[in-house]
Symmetry: C2
Subunit: 214 residues, 2 copies
DNA sequence: GCCGAGGGTGAGCGGGCGCTTAGCCTGCTG
DNA sequence: CAGCAGGCTAAGCGCCCGCTCACCCTCGGC
């Protein structure tokens, strides 16, 4: 709570680590454009225009259009991994940590949907090297969730026959929020997070406190 | 089992309804290209090349590149809806019908992953009219699944607090299979279908026959 | 054998793409 | 005040895009 990257409220400023200001404006414009129309359908002229600059200005701060996507993807995956690590490393039972992980992960995908969309769906637009770097981060994301589920199984809290498959399904469920959120209805990110945490606890066969019919 | 669109084995030939032969070859080539690289990153030269034809040949059978996507999306959604309708209209308890719907829907998304990818992720590349037509089909897909869940709740088979939200989550889980399948591991479509049917029955709080620890 | 229809091709048009270059404008240093 | 570094722009290069056009080849009907 002491750096310039934090607001007065203590909430981290999104993209606060991107400097100078013009580079951040371009990156935010790129996130919006990529999320709306996809990486390949977005032109450098569109990005620069949204940031209120000329097309050439983009190349002062980024070497190519792909570098923009790479930076967005890298920062976004770091944030997603950070969210899961915080939840996985917290106190409490495996069920509590899993519910915390799912609800916060889903809240991020819903609340910062434009970013999440780019992060989750534009991976294939990256070149081989950048792609490999991002895939390594995704493996760590998977490992965090699998770790919680394994803890729950070992503690007898969960009833899961296929840990790898269930981990995949849980993450898949959360990630797909970025695809549909705000299209279907009037749910808030908090509501979706709570609903999904409950559904995931059912998926792993957790004995939920106070759950049951009525 | 009597038309030319069926193979000897009784399995419907994919894209069998697309004639003449050259139009079907172009469409199959387009499905592969769109699935691999995305609609906007695919060129008409690439599609024609995969079909073994010159770029100009495409325009004998299709007015624009977008019409190709529209036809693929339309046929794919029809097929997906057909799968769900068959399962939803079958005999048996709500739990049996839901498990059948999920496993067959997932099997399609996994087994025909290239088609499913295009169908599920390239919607935004369509123009407003085609998009609206496809969205109407998606609403019917949603209604089929919601119908089964409502039946289960009414019969006391399921324990679901938020029917709309749970329907959304179930469909979301199935659809996302098209994104990750064949990337992560060596599961067969049948295995994923069975796993997902089990997970979904847990999500709706169904009393599964023979389920439990050990 | 001739003809018309329809599937196919080679060449290429207009335009928009990612990206570059030459030079301007601003503000800091001394 | 001169000198200059860095952020920025107008103009535009070379390329490849979706799509078109003039023409050709094949084949069934009479």
């Amino acid at each position: 709570m002491s750096t310039a990257e934090q607001t007065a409220g203590g909430e981290a400023e999104p993209w606060g680590e991107v400097t100078p200001d013009a580079a951040r404006r371009l990156l935010v414009a790129a996130v919006e454009a990529f999320a709306e129309r996809g990486y390949h359908a977005t032109t450098t002229r569109d990005i620069a225009g949204r940031a209120g600059m000329s097309p050439a200005a983009l190349y002062i701060h980024y070497k190519t259009k792909e570098e923009l996507l790479h930076r967005i993807s890298r920062i976004g995956h770091d944030k997603a991994l950070d969210i899961l690590r915080t939840a996985a490393g917290g106190e409490g039972s495996a069920a509590e940590r899993l519910a915390d992980a799912v609800s916060s992960f889903v809240r991020w995908h819903a609340g910062r949907r434009t970013t999440a969309r780019v992060v989750q769906y534009e991976l294939d637009a990256l070149g081989p090297e950048a792609r490999a770097e991002i895939l390594a981060l995704r493996r760590r994301v998977d490992a965090e969730v699998r770790g919680i589920i394994e803890d729950g199984v070992a503690a007898g809290e969960f009833d899961v026959a296929d840990v790898k498959g269930t981990t995949l399904a849980v993450l898949s469920l959360c990630i797909d929020v970025a695809r549909w959120f705000n299209i279907e209805g009037p749910r808030t990110p908090d509501e979706v997070g709570a609903l999904y945490a409950d559904l995931v606890l059912r998926m792993v066969g957790a004995r939920r406190p106070g759950a049951g019919r009525g």
